[in-house]
Amino acid sequence: MPKFEFPTSILSRPVYGVLEARAGHQHLMIADAEGAEAILDIATPDLMAKTHIIYIPKGTDFADELRALNPAQFYQGPSYAASVSRIQRVLQDAAMGLQLYLAGTEGLMGQVQSEAMKAGIPHTAIQTEHRGSTARRMQCVHCKGITEDVATDPFQCSHCNLNLFVRDHYSRRIAAYQAVCIDAEDPGYVPAQKGLYE
């Protein structure tokens, strides 16, 4: 799958890099869906012997390939929500010098980054690589509810049902982009949905 190049945007919008193996005794790799491919790209037996992989397939079938890398520890989670307490636990006693690698969707990377920051890991020390879906994790600025995997603009808030447009303004703490009512000045006039980046 070709990598998607995000258009340049405002300064709060995250930018992602390309994972590279760094020196260290302890490596934690957290990925979802096609993020598995970013791990496969840098995996060596030496690195995997020191790596803990936490992986959420999201309907893809990369799990067996990852397991075959023979990492020191491997966990496959059915969803982010189911995995988050495990992720928090692992981040909690991550020793100084832990190398953290995130790959996959923006929603997954953003949420783990936010947990890592709470655990005292500066966000600048975390490697990220976007792979797969370009859908976004959106916060409704009105009701504060989060709608996961938003792929169209506008979209409907999954909590308060307002019709919202997708902004590029991003909060690392909330791990979400901001969504704002689109028909406030013209109630009921909601433009046709388009895919993001179309």
């Binding site: 300064l11 709060s12 704002v180």
Partner: protein, 356 residues
Amino acid sequence: MTLQFNDETFRDDYSFHNSERAIKRFPFPFDKDSYMYAVNMEQHRGGPSDSIYEKRFDVDEHYVSEMRDRAMVLADDPLRCQSLPHMTLAGWDLLELIMVSKSEDYPDLFELHRDGDKWHWVNKPLGIDDHFTFMDGTTLPYGPMEYITRQTQGDFCVLDQRDDNLWMDAGTITTQADWSLDFDIGMNFFEWHAPVPLAHEKGIFVRALKFLLNIQQGAPARRLNWTMTVNPLLDTSPENYHKWGIQKTSLTPENIGAKQHLRVELQTFFRLPRSNALVFPIRCYLCAFQDLMTVPKWGRRLHRVIRDLPEELATYKGFIDNRPMMLDYLSKFDDGLPTSNGIWPEIDSEPPLKSD
């Protein structure tokens, strides 16, 4: 002079109004006939007598009603006031700065009596008379920042300074020009300014941050910023935009003079002593077009500024759709005569409007 406090509202029936005194001291933000973003900062060391620059924290006729409006906003949405755990010390710094400033600048309205850490605070306009122990949060009904900002006009951002940047780690924000504290909390200077057009490219934020990082205790700074608001609505928050946005479409050529308000923010910057945090009060002043037009210089100038404002700025500030109607109205107050430099009204020296 003794201040008379208006009994007025900033919502529903919008009974907000400016006295003649308030109009004359309104901080008209344009010092010439055009406007573009700039690093427009100066020392905050007083100003002309009775101007909004004179005191460290200006208290005006809207004080009591504004505080009532803030209490309503906070009751509806406690997330408008937040402080990350490491910001409590800065909250005490801010409480001290405001109590000391107000009791010195307005001794007939506010009193502060200190005996060691036993403090006695009297706020006569709001009928508050509290004894508490400085730095002991259990002796106040709210956290220190919330306690004092419920008694002070203007929004407050409290910025932590580290890694050569400022971080929006606390604030009380109920009179904002369409940005969300809850969303922006924890961001740095460049991140929370990300949505602003043109200014990043002009290098304005890099230079502004450098200036702010070097602000010293006892040497505060200030600048003006402005936008447009239909109806004297203080709470133009994104949180409530789905409720107030529709009001922007209620302008007509008949009501625009009364309904359309120029919204000006007096932004000041103070270094705090113990925490080394920076506090950024954003004081909002509203004035209806028809009141502004009583000052001939402002009438001429506002028309020219709004007419020539770059489209990006009119869009960002949210009045691009209403600009044509504003210009129809404002053009009647522009007779083409030259205007004098500076923001002051110059009522005595500026010629009256020439009508044909």
